[in-house]
């Protein structure tokens, strides 16, 4: 966290730091940029982590994180606390990433595949294994990848994942089942 915080309007930074998400959301909803700044700092790691796991490229994850936070700022006035704030952010993030994946050129997907296979050249076996898992996740279909990332890496419940992805628990279970199967057979050759 940077040492210098620019006060924007009204609320002194020291007060903001001890304020609940709920209060920050209420202030940001009526245009308080300082409150939004604090919210963004609290949750940027969550957004970036999911984006990185979904997209498997740091530069793309950074772009997606920026876009998600901007989107959050724009959409905040319409945020109702029917879902929790993190659930809402998970939804914005997975939607954004699914869009990025959809717009990726097929040849890029191929390049990703090749990148995955070149990992054998890495010297550190431990790092290699982690990279192999990430590459294997990146090769899941977009539909399978989202529930997989939310369950295995983020630890959300089936019900939460269904809420984030706006579908039913049985649908999530079956997508997750297929994703795990894909991953298990892809990885058993490597690990």
């Amino acid at each position: 966290m940077p040492a210098v915080r620019r006060p924007e309007r009204g609320v002194p930074p020291a007060m903001v730091l001890h304020t609940s998400d709920r209060n920050l959301i209420a202030a940001a909803q009526v245009g308080d940029l300082l409150a939004f700044e604090e919210l963004a700092r609290r949750h940027e790691t969550l957004v970036y982590r999911v984006a990185l796991r979904m997209l498997n490229r740091p530069a793309d994850a950074e772009d997606a994180t920026q876009d998600v936070l901007l989107l959050a700022w724009q959409a905040l006035p319409r945020f109702r606390s029917e879902s929790s704030f993190p659930t809402w952010l998970y939804r914005l993030t997975t939607n954004r990433c699914l869009n990025v994946l959809r717009s990726r050129h097929p040849s890029e997907a191929l390049a990703e595949e090749l990148a995955g296979n070149q990992m054998t050249d890495l010297e550190v076996e431990h790092a290699l294994r982690l990279e192999v898992v990430k590459a294997a996740v990146a090769r899941l279909t977009a539909e399978q990848r989202a529930p997989f990332v939310l369950r295995e890496f983020e630890g959300l419940s089936y019900a939460e994942i269904a809420e984030v992805l706006e579908t039913t628990v049985p649908a999530i279970k079956s997508r997750l089942h297929r994703a795990r199967g894909e991953l298990a057979s892809a990885l058993s050759e490597w690990i």
Partner: protein, 215 residues
């Protein structure tokens, strides 16, 4: 495709591989504990799957940190109004924000940014005597969807229609109905004449009074 065949695959003892994958992934109880405890096929596969999922869990424990200045960049983009392009927005129902009004012409279309409409409306509002536009959006009021600038003006465009909201201060003693009628008339006339858009409404919010020294 071959993976799916693999997943439907049963071990030589008859156990479905997929069942074991779920058991390991969810750290759940075996479906048939007695069989599993004594079955070499199941045990070998479980050990292999545990190794695989061990690495998955290691990835889960990683805490990748976003670049240091990411939030600063986001705030800069907020201040400059640099938002993601509408065409690539995920879930447009989440953010139904139109940034351009659209006018169909005989050969092509004309797009007018909401910020341009706001500038015209602002200039018109300033011409109305004995009124002031608030210098910043009143935080007691919800920021409307079309809020495009720092001051007390919001513009929502949809196709060739535009709706404008202004926050005003009036001099003490001024008639609110008369002043707001003049304001409404001036803003509608200017915006419609200069842009060709249709102003469906001008919503005025009188939020402050001031002492008019000239009166």
């Amino acid at each position: 495709m071959t993976h799916q065949v693999t997943m439907r695959h049963r071990l030589e003892c008859g156990t479905e591989l997929a069942v074991l994958v779920e058991q390991v992934a969810e750290a759940g109880e075996p479906e048939d504990p007695r069989h599993q405890a004594g079955c070499a096929y199941c045990q070998t596969t479980l050990v292999r799957l545990e190794q695989v999922w061990g690495v998955v869990r290691e990835v889960a424990r990683e805490e990748p940190a976003p670049p240091f200045s990411l939030v600063e960049t986001v705030l800069l983009r907020v201040r400059r109004g640099l938002f993601p392009a509408v065409s690539t927005l995920p879930l447009e129902q989440v953010v139904p924000r139109l940034v351009h009004a659209l006018l169909a012409a005989e050969r092509g279309t004309t797009r007018i940014a909401d910020a341009v409409v706001a500038d015209i409306a602002r200039a018109a509002a300033r011409r109305v005597p004995r009124t002031r536009l608030l210098g910043r959006w009143n935080r007691q009021l919800a920021r409307p969807a079309g809020w495009v600038s720092g001051d007390g003006i919001a513009v929502e465009v949809a196709g060739a229609s535009v709706r404008i909201t202004l926050q005003l201060a009036l001099p003490y003693g001024a008639s609110v109905p008369e002043t707001t009628a003049a304001m409404r008339e001036t803003v509608i006339a200017d915006v419609e004449a200069l842009t060709g858009l249709r102003v469906t409404a001008v919503d005025l919010s009188v939020d402050d009074v001031f002492r008019d020294e000239g009166a």
